[in-house]
């Protein structure tokens, strides 16, 4: 648990202190030829309670991914022997649907598109922050069996009806702008998980660039004022240094 608080910075008495993500141990495979980076990731993932293996080239990575039971693969794009996209492509051909996140020094939009087209599930340009990677990997690991098909999403006494576009907290109906609705929907789909600003920008706004100023924070605080204001138990939490999380703090 140590690293999580190190990275995310628990502020004594702050709201973040009681907002811990629901963490289930994941098995991860890191395919990365930079030994230092791989070691750092293995260690960092272990410190937050996950199990991580690493492979130093594409062939090893492919072999390990094929016979290991991994929840998520983290694949560097440029690898010796076999490049990352080919590793993922081969896995998909063999019917392996293990979610894969591509790490790449090429951060351009079309590279990202190429990566996703090759069968990757997410794409993170280097240099990345560990909290960003962690948040994305956790979201990926729970994608299967996620709440995508539920009509009504619930967190505590907050309910979002995806069909009628209605949001209620307790008995009170909350009116949201379309974008706020989508923001809340995304957060609630990933209730109990940390969602970063970049993830929100990508999934709610479909933008893959850096908007310079933290515009997302303002949207979140607007949303927060609508769903949390006047309630003793806040649901939307800021995870310092990482992003946001919606969860029922009373549990």
């Amino acid at each position: 648990m140590a690293i999580y608080s190190d990275i995310h910075g628990t502020r004594a008495g702050g709201r973040a202190a009681d907002a811990q993500p629901d963490r289930v141990t994941m098995r991860l495979l890191i395919i990365e030829d930079d030994r230092d980076a791989a070691e750092y990731l293995v260690k960092a993932f272990r410190e937050v309670g996950h199990v991580a293996d690493s492979a130093a080239d594409g062939e090893d990575g492919l072999a390990m991914a094929l016979d290991g039971q991994y929840d998520v693969l983290i694949v560097d794009r440029m690898l010796p022997k076999r490049d990352g996209l080919s590793v993922i492509g081969t896995l998909r051909e063999k019917g392996m649907e293990t979610p894969a996140l591509i790490l790449s020094a090429l951060g351009q939009v079309d590279d990202r598109v190429k990566g996703l087209r090759a069968g990757g599930d997410d794409y993170l340009p280097k240099p990345y922050s560990f909290s960003e990677l962690l948040a994305r990997v956790e979201v990926l690991s729970r994608r299967r069996g996620s709440r995508n098909d539920e009509t009504v999403l619930r967190v505590g006494n907050l309910a979002l009806d995806r069909l009628s576009h209605q949001v209620r907290r307790g008995e009170e109906e909350i009116s949201l702008q379309p974008r706020e609705f989508r923001l809340l929907e995304y957060l609630m789909q990933h209730a109990g998980q940390v969602v970063t600003r970049t993830m929100l920008l990508e999934n709610v706004w479909d933008y893959h660039f850096d908007p310079q100023t933290n515009v997302i924070d303002v949207h979140i605080s607007r949303l927060r004022s609508k769903i949390d204001k006047g309630f003793s138990q806040p649901l939307l939490h800021t995870i310092r240094g990482a992003g946001y999380m919606i969860r029922d703090g009373a549990r």
Binding site: G9, G107, Q108, V109, D110, V113, P127, S129, R179, W205, Y207, H208, F209, D210, P211, Q212, T213, V215, V218, H219, S221, R222, G241
Partner: protein
Amino acid sequence: MTALGKLFRTTTFKLTLVYLTVFALFAAFLLGYFALNTRRLITEQITDTVNAEITGLSEQYRQGGIRRLVIVVDARARRPGSSLYLVTTFNGESLAGNVTALAPGTLDHEGWRETVYRRLDEAENSGRPEHDALVRVFQLPGGFRLLVGRDLDERERLYNIVLSAGRWSVAMVIVLGLAGGLFVTRRVLRRVDAMTETTKTIMEGDLSGRLPIAGTGDELDRLAQNLNAMLERIEALMQGLKEVSDNIAHDLKTPLTRLRNRAEQALRAAHNETEYRAALDATIEESDGLIRTFNALLMIARAESGQAREDMNEFDAAEIAHDVGELYEPLAEEKGIALKVEADAPAPVKGNRELVSQALANLVDNAIKYSEPKPEAVNGVAPEIVVRALADGDRITLTVADTGPGIPEADRTRAVERFVRLEQSRSQPGSGLGLSLASAVARLHGGELTLEDNHPGLKSVIALPRGGPVQSAG
């Protein structure tokens, strides 16, 4: 390579040689033809005269017998000139004439032949006949033989004159041609050498050098002019590149220095975990800023190089105006700025939606940063930002107008240059490269970013051609 060897290897010289050979052959052929024809003509003339004379003389013989013929021949033989006469008995005894020492057997048969002779009035110095002649032997009734001929010296002399003239001409053609060729070649070579010399200094890094222009307007001049224009462009590009790398160095080194200082400071002065933690937080924040700047630089470089042209699709600029407006509206409101979007009519355009969004977002972000109201500012009027999308003929415009301090007119052109951050932007968060990026994106689409006065404030206009960039070579 020796100077001469270099000379001989030039194209000009090789061409000279080819022309020279052709001309020399032609001259030789022409003069030879002329010489032979002259000779034939003279021979014909001789033949005609001799025939006429023989006819005349045989007439004399017919009228007055051998006596009269001898008298006439004797008279004619005494006249100066190249005419040759001889009358002999059937056994070769000379009766009259001016010829002796004929080649043996000359008189035996009738008809034409060339022979040697000596004139009677000439001294018998060497015993060897000295002259050539063309003669006709005519048998008269009674066994007498009449020989009439012409000395061939004149013909041979003329022939020789023409021949030697021909030889001289050919020799002159060759000598003058070679000399001329060498001269021209050397002249051309000198100019090419001068160009090569300049090119060398340019390659060594001095881009200010220009190729010499002779002012004759010939093909070398045109080549030099074009190369000079190219150099002009390269120099401008290099200058730009240098400025760019200076700017990049500045933009990256400044935060790197801060980063380093902070880490050093922490190492030296921090006493407890809280202080270390604060220092590390600041370090991470600083490096995030660095990454941001770096990404912006890469993005600009990428837009500048035109790579992103590949994925361009039709999209609605009005929709982008609404989306970006919506993204920034809460931020603007929080800062006490009214952000309005005026984009009612669709403005379809072909381009890269993501990049155009980013460009517009950068402009809005800038506008918000610089419009932050100061308590005493603008007579209490709330600052306002208007985002507009307009379809205007064959182009669309995306406008962001604010009521902030604006940019002085003198700085406006510079502000949209690649990788340029104005001084005022350095104190603000963000990469400060927003305008550069927006400008690069506009250029990528074949459009442009212009900054105008909004009275007060700044009006940034991205104008894009509707059909996307005109594809020039890929």
